[in-house]
Symmetry: D2
């Protein structure tokens, strides 16, 4: 199949429609992004690679980074992690305290905010320099230098009252081992990572490749962990729109409020899209369209 042509068709078709949706505005770094930024990177395990539009411009990957944090945590503690966080879709918005209270302090899954806060706590308990080692893990996946955006981390912190509420609630249920402040510090840094579409598509290849880096064959996760993490992205990767994404796109993936979406077909390819305007569920509106069109046209959904 001529993927370059296929992607270009989709790209321009979507680009020519009105750019609907809303920017995330809770921090200035997201609010002032040029809303017309739009990039796609498609990368096959066999080396084929296609970039379109702003695929080489950095953006805030936000919640997508939760996949790296969870990967590192499960590689450290294995199944023990599921004593503290579940694997069920949330059925509610991504930072719901209601859900957390209903579930007695055990977050539904590691990709809602409460779950990622627990994951951050696990990293602190199991690493000497959690902030540095988490970044090293991401750099290993990306095959290059990746950085926290300290300004974004600071902004997240200064407006993150709801995450502070979640962390305090987790603490009240005994599901945080470390100080609330320290845990939130890791969490806010995690959310601050910047990548390009191309870097993002590259850095998710280990999940496409059974847990091993393409470049060095180094194993980051076991095959079983990898399959299960992919399954988890399928059911929980898109907040309260995971069903919609699964239904329409049919690939495991993860989105972030910076407008990025990553998806992958096991053993075949990864695809990253970036367009900052979000639908009402908090997922990139154009990103969703691109991916739905791509799997429909290519018939490359896993179902």
């Amino acid at each position: 199949m001529d993927y370059q042509n296929l992607l270009e068709n989709i790209y321009y078709q979507v680009k020519n429609q009105p750019n609907k949706g809303e920017l995330a505005t809770y921090i200035p770094e997201l609010a002032r992004i040029n809303p017309d930024k739009f990039g796609i990177s498609l990368q096959f395990l066999d080396g084929q690679s296609y970039n379109i539009g702003d695929a080489q411009e950095k953006f805030s990957i936000q919640s997508i980074a939760k996949v790296f944090a969870f990967s590192l945590a499960i590689s450290l503690v294995g199944k023990e992690i599921f004593k503290r966080v579940g694997v069920e879709p949330s059925g509610n918005s991504f930072n719901s305290l209601v859900q957390l209270e209903y579930e007695k302090g055990v977050p539904r899954n590691p990709f809602i905010n409460a779950g990622a806060i627990v994951v951050a706590d696990i990293l602190i308990s199991n690493l000497k320099n959690p902030k540095e080692e988490l970044l090293l893990f991401i750099q290993k996946a990306a095959g290059k230098k990746i950085e926290y955006n300290l300004q974004v981390a600071q902004s997240e912190k200064s407006t993150g009252f709801r995450n502070a509420a979640l962390a305090n609630m987790l603490k009240s249920y005994g599901n945080l081992e470390n100080d609330v402040e320290n845990v939130l510090d890791i969490y806010f840094h995690l959310c601050s990572i910047s990548m390009t579409c191309e870097e993002l598509a590259t850095s998710f290849k280990y999940l496409c490749n059974g847990g091993k880096l393409i470049t060095s064959d180094e194993r980051l996760l076991t095959l079983s962990q990898t399959k299960r993490l992919n399954a988890l992205m399928q059911t929980c990767g898109f907040y309260d729109e995971a069903g919609e994404f699964t239904y329409k796109v049919g690939l495991p993936g993860k989105s972030g409020v910076g407008g990025g979406i990553i998806a992958l077909y096991p053993e075949k390819f990864t695809i990253a899209v970036w367009s900052p305007k979000l639908n009402v569920k908090g997922n990139s509106l154009r990103g969703m369209k691109v991916l739905e069109q791509f799997t429909t046209d290519s018939q490359l959904s896993i179902f």
Copy 2:
């Protein structure tokens, strides 16, 4: 791979563990089933077929039949169906009124009870003899005569106050077009269908085969509808345990409180398991174990 050997190993390994869990007891027909019944049927599209244990004994497929009803409904009305029922996992137990109220009368998905009741309503509005035509659809999928169990249907009706509550609530929200009583009649008949593991595995082959019957090449659903229905089973097929099933098994599937589970790998195989004792989430305890072990050992998960 020697699937006969693989399945036998799993079957005996699971059978030799204590038979935990509880029978469904809300109707006598389920309560008095021999709890040690245990069968598996694995059928590949290429014709390979493996049956173990009680694979040729009829049991009440219960909610699994919702997949047939939804298939028929979407083949009749297409995407219009999603004005009346969603595609998101429920995040709550399968007959929750809370969820329904929160969502203003639009069930989260067609596989929770409220959603299947709406599907039944759609069948009545679009078919001359809905009860007969639904059965014909199932018979076509199965390639043989399948019947409602009228005694089960009657028992469902005489204890089905919670489903009557759901139907009345849907009616109050304007999301039922037909009389509550007529809709429930279809619904209770739908839940009463009996099949063997072998019949079940056979009858789901159209979903494995891109929407077409294996036997005649007749198309029941479009390719796109089929992929999406499979995706829907992945996120919503196991009540509040859909995440767990996806995580551990990694195949789209559907369970019923009769102890049956069907799962499938698109373009490869279908697999049906029956063991009547249920875990706390209402899914066959041994069935879950068999499928987890099968995809782990065979590495045949879609992720």
Copy 3:
């Protein structure tokens, strides 16, 4: 104090403001009421009596009748009633299924719909001719002939899907002894009773008089039952606005969606107001204003 003058001042002051709010429209009998109807009846135990406006015109007292049904039920079964219905304010809208599910089928109090349906069930279980005997009880309280409005009862039934949902849910939790249909029949008749403000104020005098009829000294409730029923009206008589009513008016009372409100000061007086337009919480907008003004001006709140 010159109550005639006081009431007239309040009446005209409220009447001269724009007549805001909305009529109940779910049944035609309520929807086509003249929205400008407005009456007040104030009656002291010592015999003083003041009627203003449309105080002698019949209207549908709706949920106010739940107080009579509960009175009769507690006189029949005593404290046993609290095994099946609570005494706590609902904190949610008056016909919430969420609350009922959360509380496992025990309605929060006898004045929300679910609670009144349980009360109707108790009447059936304890009376030979429940519909007739309930009416006789009300006639005794009113000291005159009072009737069900059969047309209203029929309309309630033909639109009462939400109440049917509640009744079926109660049945599913084992908190209805009798057939859903029979229970709803009593319930819908209960809601259909018509009275004038004057009749309403008269018929609540037994609750003002320690449980005894003024006219004959016959005891309908014990003193303790009476005090407790008044307390219950205080905390639960106004759906999700009970706090507001207590805060602003400071009298025990009960409202109905027909626009009627009854309130009373133990051992002193009863006061009934009728104005059909409702606020967003479902209570008579002008009725609330009249009562707030009355207790503020007269300082006759119980607090």
Copy 4:
């Protein structure tokens, strides 16, 4: 009536029953209280005063102090306060985040924790030295020196993650003007106040006396504010047991997890009870019994 005799009878009758319930254990200062402490103080506006048992021993009044904080706040800002906190019973446990989320950051009433945190924020915004001036207000009501227990305040802080969660959530909804930390500091100090039953009964006399101090005739609240505050205690003073308390006792009042309960009959008397063991709703078990018995025997309920 011989109140000394009446109270003694009730006191010994309750004391002779097994001392059921549980101590609050979340801070050591409450956990190590002698669970058999038991005191009553009844004080009439006309000067009659009755103390029994440990009525002159200090205990932690905990949430009872929220009444003082609310009194001071409403005396400062008047009705404006109701833009930020409601007057409806909560229908849920006293520190529920669910409720707060459902209500979009406006606490249901000023006596649940979230509401009292908003009240603390209002005090900071309107007072120069809020901690000192709040204490002065309480001392004025008590007519003597009252102190914060700094050790209790510190313990509350070091375990108060749930309150920190509530405060952060209020902040995220824009319903806190000041720093989370400062607001919680006032809140935790407020909860730390110690009083005896006698002091408590004395210090609530202004609410019994139309808003004025008995001793000096100085007005702390207007008559209308006083009546409304009493009404608010009636519907919201006992967490999720306000209905039960109203139903059984029939007096406005407030409880604390230190085992104290204050109740009052407007223009007649105040009554304070202390017994540290709590029922499952968090209210003093013996305290509830004493008050129910007292209003039943004396017929001194307001209903």
